[in-house]
């Protein structure tokens, strides 16, 4: 399946960068480009793209006005929106209008590939949506700032979470992020079918758990698929084994 893309940015070089990078992707096709919000609304109506890469500050209206204009029509299937901007202060607003991602300029090619991967996963109804299917009670994504970047992180990408005093450390495949959060709050917001508290100071994503092992000294630990070892309290043992058997 090809992903049809519209690029909306008033800067020619910004569009060129996206065009060149998307050209490297076999399954992406740029179906149109535009420089103003009004043009964008018209072009999206004409081409019905899957994704719009949308600059927030444009000469006439801003990116959010485009989203409002498009979602005002009941019949119209909303394309997925990826905001591209040099401003970091609109992230939460973008998150609230269900944007797929928020690319802070300048972004590296690697970062764009992550975005495209998420778009593909969403199109396939893959993990990112699984929490949503569980009746919307639980969080499927979180947004936060880490190391000068904005992250729209699908919770499925979280491997495990460790408590660090007033903070929690979230580990993904390649990075860790420190957030001012409490374990109790995360436990409440995350789907218990996916996330399990295994220790006073550890929550693991069951999709990334390989096994539960008892060490020679009698201590139990959860071993993740990537080999990472997470300490475990004995009292949680029966719960996790029950869940892993599913």
């Amino acid at each position: 399946m090809t992903i049809q893309v519209v690029l909306a940015d008033d800067e020619i070089l910004a569009r060129q960068k996206l065009r060149l990078l998307l050209r490297e992707q076999a399954d992406c096709e740029v179906v149109g480009e535009c420089a103003t919000a009004a043009e964008t609304v018209a072009l999206v109506h004409a081409t019905h793209p899957d994704v719009v890469f949308l600059d927030i500050r444009m000469p006439d209206m801003d990116g959010f006005d485009v989203v409002d204009a498009l979602s005002a029509e009941p019949e119209f299937t909303m394309p997925r929106i990826v905001f591209t901007t040099a401003y970091d202060q609109y992230a939460v607003r973008a998150f609230d209008v269900h944007a797929v991602d928020y690319l802070l300029k300048p972004f590296a090619a690697k970062r764009l590939r992550t975005t495209l991967q998420r778009i593909r996963e969403r199109a396939n109804g893959a993990p990112a949506e699984s929490a949503r299917r569980n009746g919307e009670r639980y969080t499927s994504r979180i947004v936060f700032k880490s190391r000068g970047r904005i992250l729209f992180l699908p919770v499925s990408e979280i491997r495990w979470i460790a408590a660090e005093e007033n903070y929690v450390r979230i580990s993904t495949e390649s990075e860790t992020h420190l957030l001012r959060e409490t374990m109790a709050h995360l436990e409440e917001r995350f789907d218990p079918q996916l996330f399990l508290r295994v220790h006073r100071s550890a929550i693991v994503n069951l999709q990334h758990v390989k096994e539960v092992r008892t060490e020679s000294d009698g201590e139990t630990a959860v071993i993740l698929i990537n080999g990472q070892k997470v300490p475990m309290s004995r009292s949680y043992r029966s719960r996790i084994q029950g869940l892993l058997r599913h």
């Binding site: 269900h98 190391r147 903070y167 957030l179």
Partner: protein
Amino acid sequence: MHPAIFIGFSVLVGLLFALQEYLNARRWGYRIGMLFLSEMWGMQFLLWGVICWLLWRFLRSFVVNAGLGTMLARILPLSIALSILEEMIWVLFFPRVPIDRPPMDYWHRLTFQLNAEFVDSMAIFWCAFIFFRGVAYYQKFREKETTAARLQVQLVQARLAALRMQLNPHFLFNAMNSISSLMRTDVEAADTMLEQLSSLLRITLDRGEVQLVPLHKEVEFVELYMAMQQQRFAGKVKQTLSVEPELHDALVPALILQPIVENAYVHGVSKSCEHWELAIDIRRDGKRLRMSVVNSGNGLDLVHKEPERKGVGLANVRDRLRLHYGERGSLSLREVGMGRVNVTIALPLQMNGNGTEEAARFDA
């Protein structure tokens, strides 16, 4: 000053005089009612209290700044006039005074009263005058003192800001030069490094002029800086970073760690290129916070042989520690064997009370 304080205080003084006269009169065998004495003295000082308050309220700067000439030409006549006025009002209230004399008309009584009390009234006025001058001098002195203190703080702030500014452009240009170089050899790496550099700038701009930041922010900055260096040295450096979780909210001077880490890269990795290591360890040591950066390399000799390469980095850190903490902050540089160099910063532990971090936001 509130008028009630003024008037209350002067009436109190009046009552003390009344008590004194009452006791004196008893000692000499006279019988005179305490209530009556209190009324007379109280009224006199009440009138003076009101007069003084009016002076303080409306003529303060005139009274306080008057030179000798003005005192003689204006304030002396004013004091005479006010003393007479006060007696005129007072006499109105006490028609029975002087006691034990046949009834007199108002002007007679006034003359009598002025004969007896005029000098006292003048004394009261000039006492108040001296008191006002004293209070004004004291206020001016306090004002000068706070201004001096504020100036001192501003000076320190300005120097700290200047020291911080020295750091930013310096490493910014180095990073841009690395990107310029990578553009020719590895576009993908240059791209990533540019993104990292933007993130560093974004964090720096977000912080603004703040001098003290929570440790986790400083660590975040250093992590990003290290990731960028890793890009530059193609992942050849083994980096470790450990922070005691209870210290995430400890306050440290912004950008205090980065120059030390930069220094470690300059003196370590650019010289020896095989097994290169950089270890950052941040821990609590009683009431102090200790941050140590250890790098493998060629020991300290190198640092001493090439003083010009030491640059502004460590000297800058030392200056800033001194400005922030005086004797309680320190930076030490020592060799710890095998050519490894340990730079340790110690500073008083101070926790960030108001956690103003923006928390994560959840959907659904």
